[in-house]
Symmetry: C2
Subunit: 142 residues, 2 copies
């Protein structure tokens, strides 16, 4: 009953698996250069865009809020993030990247070699095609 997956799809899934593995390696290595773990880097990336309640961070990371408490704790100790009260709701704590946090994240981001090494092998046309296909895969049609 399980629909036999055709060989093409299977190969694509494997290739995506390789890309995922490769991406992680490089992401963690880049984070490590700045003494950050992967999770810390991801949170810092979120907060570089805008301050956010703990709750929403947990939703983005798809984990429990209690987990976020610890991650923010460790970032806060290092002065990369701060907790601010929310003007409208005193239950809420807004986590916000400090100037140092934003700067760290920007440096991390531009040291993400993944942007250069494997993608450099592709022509502009290929990159465009890849972008369009990935958009469709992720359901980001315009």
């Amino acid at each position: 009953m399980t629909p036999r997956i055709d060989p093409l799809t299977r190969e694509v899934v494997d290739l995506i698996g390789s890309v995922v593995f490769r991406y992680h390696e490089e992401y963690d290595a880049a984070a490590g250069k700045h003494q950050l773990t992967g999770a810390q880097a991801r949170v810092l990336g979120l907060l570089s865009l805008e301050p956010m309640p703990m709750r929403r961070i947990a939703e983005q990371l798809k984990c429990e809020p209690s987990n976020v408490t610890g991650i923010i704790d460790r970032l806060e100790i290092r002065g990369l993030v701060e907790r601010r009260p929310d003007a409208a709701d005193r239950r809420i704590k807004l986590a916000a990247a400090t100037a140092a946090g934003k700067e760290t994240y920007e440096r991390l981001r531009s040291s993400l070699d993944f942007a250069r090494e494997p993608l450099a092998r592709l022509s502009t046309d290929e990159r465009t095609a890849l972008r369009d296909i990935l958009r469709r895969m992720l359901g980001l049609e315009t």
Copy 2:
């Protein structure tokens, strides 16, 4: 001095990040259905192909051998993996998937919905194009 990354490349990197996140979610969910963690599933996948010394598992996972000890311990307790002596070198322990382990991994693999849901949105031509681009990205030219 840092080469400004062009917008197209930046978007592709972001899209790949989304795919990576998505892939992980689904992979962990599929593993969870079989009471496995992501790391356990990955090891079981390796050992489904062939038995392997602890050392080599660590290399494949890019982690320390001491970490592998624990992962194999937990799989062994559940009868999915066993440690065998190596005929030629008594220092080596070959980790091998048991019949139950192989079966579990095959079930896990076919429940990997990532193969269906997002890729189903693509035509065969798009999938072929994606395969070719990913191959080039990963340096798997023929």
